[in-house]
Amino acid sequence: MRHIISILLENEAGALSRVSGLFSARGYNIESLTVAPTEDASLSRMTIVTSGSGDVIEQITKQLNKLVEVVKVVDLFEAPHIERELMLIKVRATAKERDDMKRMSDIFRGRIIDVSEDTFTIELTGTGQKLDAFIEALGRGVILETARTGACGISRGQRVLRI
């Protein structure tokens, strides 16, 4: 089953490779991994989307907690949560396609953030599924390039991940 694991870790050189090394050494999946400093610059927050049985996810969280630089680990799937991913997508948009493309972007609540003679670059956020659906809806023929961030997530309501 798919899980989103959020990790607070010391913002130090090499911390990322300890986490990614752990996943490869123990044969755990990484569907996506994002990381950036938090409002406290000494901490980074990492979001890993992984999949595995309950036992595997339990081991993943235990092994992550064991890493010396990891401060806190939470499996967002334990409680209601929100996940979002950002995609920048560059599509072909020549004269006759431009209106259609604009409409499609609006339907998905995308924003066109760059325009050239033959292209649009659209910014779109949502769940991974929504981004997939947008790609599907456009059709592969018009897509020139995509850049996706991978998911990041946060718990709903009062639950917070902080030290």
Binding site: L9, E10, S17
Partner: protein, 568 residues
């Protein structure tokens, strides 16, 4: 006053009361060696290969409560040390490794003797550091010693670029340290301990299964008290030997791939199993699915949460420092009026006694060729069970574990997790350094011994009177055994040809060598060797080439699917 990084490093080691550093100099660590030269508190032991330095530091740690320290240079110094670091990591041995690194400005430019030490060692250390600024050095060293020795112990590597060893700053060694990201649990959860107590007191067929965690956490006294007060059978894993006295009537031998029949049967057929500082390793419980077929309640006490429910689901997990948890558990049992039902316990012991009649460790005592088991029995007799025994890896290791009865912790030093051939001799050096007056024996085989044979030279230089018991069967015995059992007797590359004359070899290093090829000569040779208290004696026992280690649970088999000597 400002000190150089090299001076600061030495001051840190002194502050940690380090007696010995096992190492090998090289370009990147020259300033550190210069500072070592200028002081007398820390003694440096010059090994002949960096693998020897890490194994020696490891043996030093295992045989004492002190921490082993190794010092190696950059590049090949580090890569040579990796085997020893991984060995310590697999067995959770506290150790600090200091490695030299090329100057900070040269890092990443493929400089001479550069390697990514932190990257290469990352998967086989508890933690590691690259010190880029001399101002961080003292704090980093403090962290390294703290991390290595607390929680589940392990090796910690500190990589120090050459320019950091010359850069200067004020030295201040922190007294204490706290790290927000590292807080090992010490006290066990009282509710869980209570649950464990209830299970233990209601058990009809209880079994205590104790591992290396008991040795590492100094919990032998608590374990012994618990087992004796409850009257339960107890088994010690390969890493746990000595955690409970092997000569005690409650001891049923080692479990696992080469465990005793009675220990394995009891592990499988008990109704309550309490695992203490053990990790349900594949060599201990065999196939986890087979192990899980039998309904039993499992209590697991361990400092490392990730060891719990990793291979086997447990019913009562207790995370904590083993001696503290056992103290709490013993107190609860003492306060409780309930005791295990004597009738049930009596019946269980009767069953175990029946299993014991299999006499699973028997061998041909009338053999005209030396049987390796016989050598170990004699070794046990002559040393009165009180030697520190290190071993290499293979058949001799298993026979030593089966036939030498360890009554005390830290007397049995072997590479259980990684299974590193070449470990025995350098580990014995470390053990002898940590225990100057003790009898230190290295039980080895002609194949393993040759993997770190160069350390005979170190033994001479530091006058280490180690006794080497070489069980020479001209085969990689354990490989040959597997090939006999599982590969149709095709002994692919497992023979040992072109062996040196070990007697002459020992003599050429300035040691004493004895060759023994008759059973009648075994005892006299051992006696002669132990009389020579100030010399290394290499005993080359020419043993039966066809002898196998029994019982044996084949790889991936169930724990009770044992091959016994009588089956073949």
């Amino acid at each position: 006053m400002e000190l150089s990084g090299a001076e600061i490093l030495i001051k840190c080691l002194q502050a940690e009361k380090v007696e010995y550093v096992f190492g090998y100099p090289g370009g990147s660590v020259l300033f550190i060696y210069d500072e070592l030269f200028k002081q007398t508190k820390i003694k440096h032991v010059l090994v002949r290969h960096e693998q020897g330095a890490t194994h020696a530091a490891d043996g030093y740690s295992r045989s004492s409560r002190k921490i082993g320290v190794a010092l190696v240079t950059s590049g090949p110094g580090v890569t040579n040390a990796v085997t020893g670091i991984a060995t310590a990591y697999m067995d959770s041995i506290p150790m600090v490794i200091i490695s030299g690194q090329v100057p900070t400005h040269a890092i990443g430019l493929d400089a001479f003797q550069e390697c990514d030490a932190v990257g290469i060692t990352r998967p086989c250390v508890k933690h590691n550091f690259l010190v880029k600024d001399v101002k961080d050095l003292a704090l980093t060293m403090k962290k390294a010693f703290y991390l290595a020795t607390t929680g589940r112990p392990g090796p910690v590597l500190v990589d120090i670029p050459k320019d950091v060893t010359t850069a200067k700053c004020k030295f201040e060694y922190p007294e204490t340290i706290t790290m927000r990201s590292y807080n090992p649990v010490v006290k066990g959860h009282p509710g869980q301990i209570k649950k464990a107590m209830q299970l233990l007191l209601e058990a009809k067929r209880p079994m205590v299964y104790a591992g290396g965690g008991v040795i590492l956490s100094e919990a032998a006294a608590q374990l012994t008290k618990l087992v004796r007060m409850l009257g339960f059978p107890c088994t010690n894993t390969l890493m746990g030997l000595g955690g409970f006295p092997a000569t005690d009537k409650h001891f049923v031998g080692m479990p696992g791939m080469h465990g005793t029949y009675e220990a394995n049967m009891a592990m499988q057929n008990c109704d309550v199993l309490v695992a203490i500082g053990a990790r349900f390793d594949d060599r201990v419980i065999g196939d986890p699915a087979h192990f899980g077929q039998v309904p039993r309640k499992i209590i697991h006490i361990d400092i490392d949460p990730s060891s719990i429910s990793k291979r086997v689901k447990v019913d009562v997990p207790i995370v904590g420092h083993v001696p503290d948890v056992l103290d709490d558990l013993i107190k609860l049992i003492e306060a409780s009026k309930q005791r295990p039902e004597p009738k049930a316990l009596h019946a269980w012991w009767a069953q175990i006694e029946l299993w014991k009649t299999k006499d699973c460790l028997r061998y041909d005592r009338k053999s005209k060729i030396i049987k390796p088991q016989f050598v170990l029995e004699k070794l046990y007799e002559i040393t009165k069970g009180d030697a520190i025994v290190t071993s290499d890896v293979g058949q001799h290791q298993m026979w030593a574990a089966q036939f030498y009865k360890f009554d005390k912790p830290r007397r049995w030093i072997n590479s259980g997790g990684l299974g590193t051939m070449g470990f025995g001799l350098p580990a014995a050096m470390g053990a002898q350094m940590a225990n100057p007056g003790a009898s230190v024996v290295c039980v080895t085989g002609e194949a393993s011994f040759q993997m770190c044979i160069q350390e005979l030279s170190t033994c001479k230089q530091y006058r280490l009177p180690i006794k080497v018991v070489n069980l020479n069967n001209r085969y990689m015995g354990m490989v040959r055994q597997w090939q006999q059992f599982f590969h149709g007797n095709r002994y692919s590359e497992s023979y040992m040809d072109a062996l040196p004359d070990f007697v002459k070899l020992a003599e050429s290093y300035g040691h004493v060598g004895i060759r023994i090829d008759k059973p009648a000569d075994v005892e006299p040779a051992l006696k002669e060797a132990f009389k020579r208290t100030d010399e290394l004696v290499f005993m080359d026992f020419i043993t039966d080439q066809t002898e196998n280690v029994y019982p044996m649970v084949g790889g991936g088999k169930g724990l009770t699917e044992m091959i016994l000597a009588e089956d073949l």
